[in-house]
């Protein structure tokens, strides 16, 4: 499930964006907000399992939230994605999902050869200076 959420955030929506899909429409917004809510509930459940005190209300909340979430995606988000993405976009989506499953890296389509990265030498400007 954790991987499924990431696939939506790191593959599905970015590909949708590449083909001009609007990401601030209601169903997408709701879907992302629900991801945060469900992840928060998983934190609750995890803490409860660790302390050996699982509350039935937590199970109930997760069940309800998950069901609502899946219905939203199946009834609204995916039909929208199918509507917006041309054949080529759907193929790209499938190809990137396949690459993602095969690769251990965060975003496996990023090439590996010749990338140089030295981690930052010291802490950044922790005061957030320069933003305003």
């Amino acid at each position: 499930m954790s991987i499924h959420f990431r696939q939506e955030e790191e593959v599905l929506l970015p590909v949708l964006a590449r083909y001009g899909g609007e990401l601030d429409q209601e169903s997408v917004v709701l879907m992302l907000a629900q991801h945060a809510r469900i992840r928060g509930l998983i934190m609750d459940l995890s803490d409860e399992i660790t302390r050996k005190g699982v509350r039935p209300e937590t199970l109930q909340s997760i069940g309800v939230a998950l069901e609502e979430h899946i219905r939203l995606e199946e009834r609204e988000v995916f039909p929208l994605v199918e509507d917006v993405l041309p054949q080529e976009g759907l193929k790209e989506l499938a190809a990137r999902l396949e690459v993602k499953e095969a690769g251990p890296r965060a975003e496996p389509w990023v090439p590996t050869e010749g990338l140089a990265y030295a981690s930052w030498p010291g802490p950044g400007d922790s005061e957030g200076g320069g933003w305003d």
Partner: protein
């Protein structure tokens, strides 16, 4: 602006992000001494090592904790932030393809630089001040502690305990027609 100590890690990342964003814009304008192709590769290295994780930390730690403490994750600034994550990830797909085919486009560098800068400003000016406002001390501590767990843990969401779990993957394909939803 002074950031809550528990959130400083994010702001440090933002600071580095701005430096990279400026470099991308300069490279696109031909104002960098090094070739744009090199700048593009360096940026992808930075992306894989830092930014990709940073986005996940926001999506998998910061926002869920905000939600747990009563924050509204469907408010405009948060939605804008998440939509920008998807936009930027889409641009990274484009740049990755271009680097692989050895044809990085200045236009792509420029767009990533601009979007990243806009994104960081949104978070620093709007989202993080809102979060500091809403999260009580306990919530800020929870963010810091889960970030730390996340860095050391192996699982996607490492606070999920590991002992005594059993999971058998689904025996066959699901109902791909979406039957039963309506």
């Amino acid at each position: 602006m002074k950031r809550a100590p528990e959130l400083r890690k994010f702001s440090e990342d933002h600071h580095h992000g701005l430096v990279h964003a400026r470099r991308l814009r300069k490279a696109a304008d031909g104002d960098e001494a090094r070739p744009a192709a090199d700048i593009a590769r360096d940026f992808l290295g930075y992306w894989q090592a830092e930014t990709s994780t940073h986005f996940r930390e926001e999506e998998e730690v910061l926002l869920p904790v905000l939600q747990r403490h009563g924050g509204d994750v469907s408010q405009e600034s948060v939605i804008e932030m998440l939509a920008q994550h998807a936009e930027i990830r889409g641009l990274i797909m484009g740049l990755s393809d271009e680097v692989t085919s050895r044809t990085p486009q200045p236009e792509t560098l420029k767009r990533i630089g601009e979007q990243l800068e806009e994104h960081i400003r949104l978070e620093e000016r709007v989202v993080f001040p809102m979060i500091e406002n809403i999260l009580p001390e306990e919530g800020l501590k929870e963010v810091a502690s889960r970030l730390e767990t996340r860095q050391t843990g192996l699982g996607a969401e490492p606070w999920v305990p590991t002992e005594g779990f059993s999971y058998d993957p689904w025996p066959g394909p699901g109902d791909s027609e979406g039957g039963g939803w309506d």
